[in-house]
Point group: C2
Chain length 485, copies 2
Amino acid sequence: MSLLKDKKRGGEEKCPHPKKSGLFSLTSSVHKSYHIGFVRRVMCNGTSEDSLFSVPLEHLCPPLQSVVQVNFFCDYEESKGNYLVDVDGNCMLDVYTQITSIPIGYNHPALTKVMTDPKNMGTFVNRPALGMMPPEQFFEKLVNGLMAVGPKGFSRVQTMACGSCSNENANKAIFIWYRVRAGPWISGVLLFFFQVPGCPDLTLLSFMGGFHGRTLGFLATTHTMAIQKLDLRYPLDQFERENAQEEACCLEEAEDLIVKWNQKGRHVVGVVIEPIQAEGGDNHASFDFYRKLRGITKKHGCAFLVNEVQTGGGSTGKFWAHKHWGLDDPADIVSFSKKMLTGGYYQKDGFQPDKQFRIFNTWLGDHTKNLLLTEVIKVIKTENLLDQSKRSGKVMLEGLYDLQDKYPHLLSRARGIGTFCAIDVKDEDTCNNLILKARNKGKTLSMKKPREEPGSEGWPVLFWLCWLEIKGIWPLRPDGSSRCS
Amino acid sequence: MSLLKDKKRGGEEKCPHPKKSGLFSLTSSVHKSYHIGFVRRVMCNGTSEDSLFSVPLEHLCPPLQSVVQVNFFCDYEESKGNYLVDVDGNCMLDVYTQITSIPIGYNHPALTKVMTDPKNMGTFVNRPALGMMPPEQFFEKLVNGLMAVGPKGFSRVQTMACGSCSNENANKAIFIWYRVRAGPWISGVLLFFFQVPGCPDLTLLSFMGGFHGRTLGFLATTHTMAIQKLDLRYPLDQFERENAQEEACCLEEAEDLIVKWNQKGRHVVGVVIEPIQAEGGDNHASFDFYRKLRGITKKHGCAFLVNEVQTGGGSTGKFWAHKHWGLDDPADIVSFSKKMLTGGYYQKDGFQPDKQFRIFNTWLGDHTKNLLLTEVIKVIKTENLLDQSKRSGKVMLEGLYDLQDKYPHLLSRARGIGTFCAIDVKDEDTCNNLILKARNKGKTLSMKKPREEPGSEGWPVLFWLCWLEIKGIWPLRPDGSSRCS
């Protein structure tokens, strides 16, 4: 922190209650707009809500990167369990968990043990090209890690570095699968020039509000969209009839698009969907919707890619959100990342490319993440965290229902499954205020601005994202307090 | 290795000279074809060259992944410096270094020290979302790591997970840079439906034989190619006149393409190139070619993206290969990965996107890699490894010249800069034999099959890739031997 500290030595007044002398909490203000990048000091006693600096964060940090997205700087050595500690020593119940990517809390002893085990040293210091020169225990770790929680019916797993490249490569696997079935592979020369027939016009169907990554492929190859956006009423079980009607329209349109694009010769060879549209604003659908969509993909010979990057890992109360659908054959490929620590995807046998190096890159993930994941999975199983997630989620969702009953002019559409919960807030200012107040009361939340879509109602959505509550089984603060003061 | 070992307990004969009892080296045979995936036992005494199994590797490993690309399984705890040890204990001089991604050898003490430092524990166990909640020392590590070797004139750096997503995001940064200069950003609604003008028809010019990643974007958005492939004669300095003519043709065609595509309204907003086409077969060009190409990009207002994923990190004798060009303003964006341990790119101020979350993902790299990289850079500087790379490269290239003089019917076109050297071998069988024999003599090499391009002469190229020789300063085997027997 010395860089930041040095920058602060310019005569500005110091926080009266810092936990660490001379350090300031650099918190993006959410007062004026969605993360506008101005700093504020957050004192330990929570009294500093209005003490905004008018100094942009850029002026306090070396100008190496955009810092407008930075919420605050963290002390990861001091953070524990569900509690995130910032550089001032402020301790917050973390309901955002690094964009839902911390599976069993901060500094879990099972994970620190992996790090201090001398026999893991070589793996952490030397990163192998896993596709060509894997370490001795590579397959063993895959069997005890990823395959130990692999969805039923999936015999294969391909590791990748992150969620975006997992989805991109899953898409490639689908295109290759289709081409190989369609006949002999076209000469590389034509592929090389991106011309048909070597580079055929294949289509992946995705849904409005879906989010599958920010790399160019998944921005560029999402050719068609089911324009009929699901606009359901919550709680889902109280509006079953209305929602079923809405879902039927959407399914009809999806099938219609598949037929039309196939007729145009731009074959819809796959459909990609999230079990809950997370980045899109925590949009849920009924399990029956997914069952019927899966039926449509089978009817038309489309591969079904279920993107569990955000939903996988246990926060819905099952290890994979698609397990809630209760299907024997729920998907052809399931992609993951975030709480799984490594990116990658499970695939059925048929999706293994026919030729080597089609799905490939230098590292193909990071074996250190497999080591850590193996322990994460053990902890989730032995400590029964999926049940814990259901129990905590129930408490959380009931709390959200109570809140929206109490403040119907501010809050609406509380929804969730497990700890994967959300509620809509009236407008952006209210939402920003709520997040700021929650932070100063020791909870860090996230919000999602709605996309500028036609027909969007402009309501910011507040996330309470994806959180395995482990306080019960690994108590950090037996008194239940979440504040450091 | 127990999984593999268990699979082997089927009555097959055991290696007579295993270093570790009961373990076999699972080495892809390169006898029959390029990595066909059959196993062979490699004994420590190097006598087993012909003892091929006819058992596909798939039958020995759990069927979780394609293993046709696997060369052999490694013991990363036992590997040291430039020497890679396989699961049988065979010790090989590693001239391939995990597809050129190991910067200062295996298990370097400076890196093991990072791992055993208790204050780094939190970083290794808790992976932060670096864009939103960076750790205390984040900018400090960037300043002492990536920025300590940042190319001149680059004030900003964006970390990413790997080379492909570094290039993809660099491309996005270029498109955004162009659009922002061209006028106010088009409404998100149009972008959302991938229609013009919200999704304008922008073009990135790349070169035949160039390789920038396997994700969909860089496969799909490489719209146009300079068809005139550089076909130079080596050594470059002996054929200056002929090569200059060839390069002039290519430059003329590149400029012509920029003009034509601009006229078509599909603006060429950037040009992407590697300082040496590595995956494409170690194709070099004169420094003057790059200087002139840079001039063309400036003349036509194209951003110049220099892809140093393969060439960066010191193996050419300078930290960045583009430094050999001797330009004050060599590039607008420089991407990296591999030996830099983290992916990412340096960019000039103007390429910082105007809005937040345009260039973003959950992790934005991995801070553990920044910790390790900081030490790597210290070692390269204090131990003067760039000079070492020049010296070792000179010895290596002279050796290659001698070899091709001695075996002109088998070898040709020896070329290289620093330790980034290559030589062409007559045909695939000869190349496979050479790699296999080298491995059994304790050296692991790589080969690159030429792409099926129009006009390709079908000669496999043998890589001796990207290698920082550190034996001199950190002797593993003072007697200079590279064999374990």
